[in-house]
Amino acid sequence: MGTPASYKWLIGSIKTEGNFGVAMATADLTDWYKIKEADFSAMDTTFESDDDEINGYVGGTLLTVQERKGTMARKAKASIELITWALGEMLGNVTSSGSTPNYVQTIKWRNVCAVNPPSFSFIEGEDCVGQTATNWLYKGCVINTLTLEFNGKGPGALTLALMHDGSETAQASVVFPVPAAAFAVNKLFGYHLTTKLGPLGTEDITPLLRTWKMTINSGIVEPPSMAAGVYVAEYQYGPKNPKIDIEITLKANKGHAIYGYYQASPPTVLKHVSALTINTNRSITLTQSSCLVTATAKPSGNEVNLDIKIMEQHNATDSGPGAFVCKTGFANLLTPSP
C-alpha cells in the first residue's frame, strides 16, 4: 500500500517546458521539495451528453469526453528557493546575473507582449515498495495563484494553485530521492521579514508587523481551442493580470502616519519594500516603487491594529506594479527542457 505520507513530487527548479505541453525530460525532474499535504493532482473531465437530442425513445445516454484538464495545490513552508522558482514560472520575465554560488534573479512583471505564462512538467507518486503505478508525469502546468503568508515569528506559508493540461503519463521507472535527499532550501520565518512603507520607502514598520500576506494572481484563462485531442492546448494570462495584493496587519491606530497617507486628499503615493533575508546572499526583496494604501482600524485583544492593503500601481521604475530581486543559488531559471 502507498500512503499520503509517502507522496513526493519532482520538479526541475531551473527548467521549464520549451513549448507548452511538451513534457520536460524526466532527467531534469529531480528536485523534491517537501510539502505539507499529499495534494494529488485532480483531473477535471468535461463530458458531452446527448440527452438534449431527441432520439425517439428513452434509451441509454451517450457520453463523450470533450475535454480534460487538471488542477492541483501545493502547500509548503516558505523557502527562498521554492518562492523564486514559483515567481519565475508565474511572471516569466527573469534576468539572471552574478556568479557561483551567489546568483541573483531579477523578476519583473510580464512583458506586455507576453500572452502565455511559462509552463513546466512534474512527476508525482507514492514512494512505497510496489507502488510504481502511482507515478505520473503531468505537463503543461502553470501557476495560477501564489500566496505567501507570515503570522508572527513562525514559518511562512506558501500556497500555490496550479493547473495542468489534463494528460497523465505513467512514469513507473522514476526513482524518487531518499528521505534525506529533499532539495536543500533556506526556510523563511517571520523574523526574516523587514518591511518599509512610506513616501520615501525607507520608513521601517517592521517592529509593528503582526501579519504579512502577499497574493499574486495570474488570472489564468483557457481560450476556446479546436486543437486536436482533448487536452488543454494553451493557457493564457488573464487580461490585466498578474495582479499583486499585499495585506499587512500592523500594531498601530488611526494616529499612525500610514493612516494619514490613506486619509490625505489626494492619498499620498508611497513606496513599499519588503525583504526576506537569510543572509546577504540568500534573500528575496519585493520593491513597489509606487503604491497607494487603504487602512482600517480594528481591535485585536488589548491593542488596536491597522489592516493595511497595498494597492498596486504600475510604474516605469519597476516595469510593472513591483519587481523581485531573488538571491539564490540558481544560476538560471526557466532553461528550456529538453
Binding site: 552574478g98 538560471n332 532553461t335
Partner: protein, 80 residues
Amino acid sequence: MAEVDKTSAKVKIERVAGVDPVTQISYISSDRPGSYSHWAPEPGKDGFEVSAELATAAVESGGFRVAEDSRVKLKTKERG
C-alpha cells in the same frame, strides 16, 4: 536612426564592464510570439551578435550595451 528588421538584423552587443555578468535573459521573440524565449550568454565571452529583439532585452537588463562598431543600432525607446 533607421528602423531595423527585427527578425533578421543582427546587432552586436557587449557586456557592460563592472556589472554582475548576466547569465540568462527572458525575451519575446518573433519565433515564439506571446511566449518567452530564454538566452544564456556564454560565460566568459563579452561580445555577441544577436537579433534586435534579444538585443533590446539584453540592453534593458543593464548588463549589455550595443557595441560601437555594430552595423545595426537599436531605435531608442520613446516614453510619453
